[in-house]
């Protein structure tokens, strides 16, 4: 193998298997997820981190249904 001549690698390295900051499933349970409430409801933080407080339901009687 050592005698085989090869050229310069021109491939991009693989994308990382893990993105820093993301929860890894094998680490165990996720105890906290932004935008998810304990009672099963959610707010717009679940869908976005940008101005999320301005994207909630406009009235209290409305269900808060952030988009996917």
């Amino acid at each position: 193998m050592g005698t085989i001549r090869v050229g310069r690698p021109d491939v991009k390295p693989d994308t990382p298997g893990h993105v820093k900051g993301m929860h890894q499933g094998n680490k165990g349970r996720t105890y906290r997820q932004p935008g998810h409430h304990k009672d099963g409801t959610a707010d717009s933080r679940r869908s976005t981190g940008i101005h999320w407080k301005k994207h909630n339901a406009i009235m209290k009687i409305m269900p808060n249904l952030p988009p996917g």
Binding site: G25, G28, R29, T30, Y31, H36, D39, G40, T41, A42, P63, N64, L65, P67, G68
Partner: protein
């Protein structure tokens, strides 16, 4: 002995004129199924039948050592048409092993996806594959006398479906040209879209996981589903009427046709659609949440309900050998000696099974199939019952009807029938359909049950939609519950694949799969003779059945036999192709396909 008793035969019998006839592979099904028969043309009956499969299913072998959380994604690939049933069932088994209960909305989403799957799969199988055996072109080639009579016979539900005579309905069944055939393709597309809304992708779901789903429960997901459901409702109502007309005509025009594919009533149903109010996935409470399912599980023997307890169903499962290409595992170490309730678990139970394939030449006097022989041990009689699924719908409706437990706004089980109410649709008004327990478990009743179950699934879908939308309106959008994988655990999942019973048995050791055995419906239906000599359901149903086809041995199409085999909705799920012999082609005589022009 579970085989069907000998049928009543005419007193005068002619000297037998026996001809070997075989169909291998059988077309218009999934997988490699061969049916080998001996037919007595003088007395017009099938004398002997053997069903064989040249597919080896290696899932139980290569699942070992894998991460159990992957099981749902891997086992989905068992089948190319009902893969989602496997994912769902695998998730049920895993949820038991992990001790996790998904939130109610997740359960409704799974139920909606599965309802769409039943509607899709039954429609495409019945209207595009089964009806080819009942279409004008096929009947003309096999029973011209019957077609002549169909031309003269008015369709009782003509006002509902618009076809004046029975022959008109049969013409609509003609492949590629008939109106029903073409319409069914559109309906199966729409129902598949419904499926994808809930489970992400058909047929291997991308959004079903143990512990919940990844589907975003937005209001539009449910309204998109609802608008499609309403769109196919007219078709569903008309399909039931058309099926009833054609099948009643067969009984009337061919006296004795009830004997075709008739076997002793031995039906198994493992239940479908969990009720999130009751189901907690604990083995200890499995009987309770099993009975709360929206299709009630049950074993029906000779028309009587033997049990509806999932624990009994689970413990009674026995995987027998006898005519299969495997080595016995009786001498191996058992994985599970007792279930969580302390009941002993048999060595032949899927929890303890070890699959050791032993490829060999096919020998109809010895081993002749890759399918094993699953049986259900009946403690009361001591028999190993060769249960069939009746193609799926027959057992589901029969068990649900006898149990009388399902009571929703749209579906009600009465103890002797199932009443299905479908709301007003584009053309037709609100309709209540009633499926009554039939007198026989035969070819026609298996086929007839299918459109009724499409209606059942559509009706239940309305119920699930209402439940899901109620939660969303209240802002409860939880669809996932987190869990830890235990070091050691066992689990079992019971579900209904489209064509019948489905169970997944899982043993976890060191957080890895130590043993995994899926038992889909076709191993039950297509099983060969077991170690007690009991034939499997296909063999049992075909063996001894009369032949109504008017053709002689030279141009024989075997349509009555094909109708019987296809009535079970055969689907020999994918596995690894095994090479038989030294390159010899299996003897293939003929296979009736795509109407009469292909002989």
């Amino acid at each position: 002995m579970t085989a069907t008793d000998d049928r009543a035969r005419p007193a005068e019998r002619k000297p037998a004129q026996i001809v070997d006839m075989s169909w291998d592979p059988i077309t218009r099904i999934i997988g490699n199924l061969g049916i080998y028969t001996k037919i007595d043309f003088a007395n017009r009956e099938v004398v002997e039948c053997r069903s064989t499969s040249s597919l080896f299913r290696g899932y139980s072998v290569f699942m070992k050592g894998k991460d159990p959380r992957d099981a749902g994604f891997i086992t989905s690939r068992i089948c190319g048409i009902c893969g989602d049933n496997h994912t769902t069932c695998s998730n049920y088994a895993q949820q038991m092993a992990y001790g996790v209960k998904p939130p109610p909305l997740a359960e409704h989403i799974v139920n909606l996806g599965e309802a769409a799957e039943y509607m899709f799969d039954h429609t495409i199988f019945q209207d595009n594959l089964v009806f080819v055996d009942f279409c004008e072109a096929m009947v003309k080639a096999t029973n011209p006398g019957l077609l002549a009579r169909a031309e003269r016979t008015g369709a009782p539900h003509a006002a509902l479906h618009g076809y004046r005579t029975i022959a008109d309905v049969m013409r609509a069944f003609n492949p590629f040209e008939g109106e029903v055939y073409k319409q069914a393709l559109k309906v199966s597309r729409v129902t598949r879209e419904m499926f994808c809304l809930m489970e992400g992708r058909h047929v291997h779901p991308s959004t079903l996981y143990p512990g919940g789903v990844g589907t975003m429960p937005e209001p539009t997901v449910f309204t998109d589903y609802l608008s499609r459901l309403l769109k196919v409702l007219d078709f569903v109502k008309q399909a039931v009427a058309m099926n009833d007309d054609v099948f009643d005509f067969f009984y009337e025009a061919l006296p004795g046709y009830e004997e075709v594919g008739r076997r002793r009533i031995l039906l198994g149903c493992w239940g479908a659609w969990q009720n999130s109010d009751v189901c907690d996935y604990r083995y200890e409470t499995m009987d309770e949440w099993g009975r709360a399912m929206f299709v009630t599980p049950g074993v029906v023997v000779d028309g009587e309900l033997r049990t509806n307890s999932l624990v009994d169903i689970n413990l009674g499962m026995r995987i027998l050998l006898g005519s299969s290409f495997y080595e016995d595992w009786a001498a191996e170490q058992p994985f599970v000696t007792h279930d969580p309730l302390g009941n002993p678990v048999d060595m032949r139970h899927p929890w303890n099974q070890t699959t050791v394939p032993a490829p060999q030449k096919r020998d109809f006097d010895g081993n002749y199939s890759w399918v094993m022989s699953p049986r259900w041990y009946d403690r009361t009689s001591g028999e190993h019952l060769a249960l069939d699924t009746g193609g799926g719908p027959l057992a589901r409706l029969w068990s649900t009807a006898l149990n009388g437990l399902v009571d929703t706004d749209y579906v009600k089980a009465t103890g002797h029938s199932v009443r299905i109410t479908l709301p007003k649709s584009e053309k037709l008004p609100e309709t209540t359909l009633e499926w009554r327990i039939p007198r026989w478990s035969n070819t026609i009743e298996r086929d007839r049950a299918r459109p009724y179950f499409v209606a059942y699934a559509a009706a239940m879908a309305f119920s699930f939609l209402e439940r899901a939308q109620r939660l969303v309106r209240g802002g409860d959008v939880r669809v996932f519950e987190d869990f830890d994988v235990p070091d050691e655990a066992i689990g079992c999942g019971f579900h209904e694949a489209v064509r019948g019973v489905l169970s997944h048995h899982l043993v976890i050791k060191d957080r890895k799969i130590a043993n995994y055995h899926p038992y889909p419906p076709t191993p039950w239906n297509a099983s060969p003779r077991d170690s007690f000599g009991t034939p499997g359901p296909y063999e049992d149903a075909v063996q001894g059945q009369p032949i109504f086809e008017e053709n002689g041995p030279d141009d024989f199409k075997g349509v009555d036999i094909m109708r019987t085999v296809r009535s079970f909705d055969p689907c020999l799920p994918c596995g690894v192709h095994m090479y038989l012999g030294k390159g010899n082609t299996l003897v293939a005589t003929h296979s009736p396909t795509f109407g009469a022009s292909h002989g």
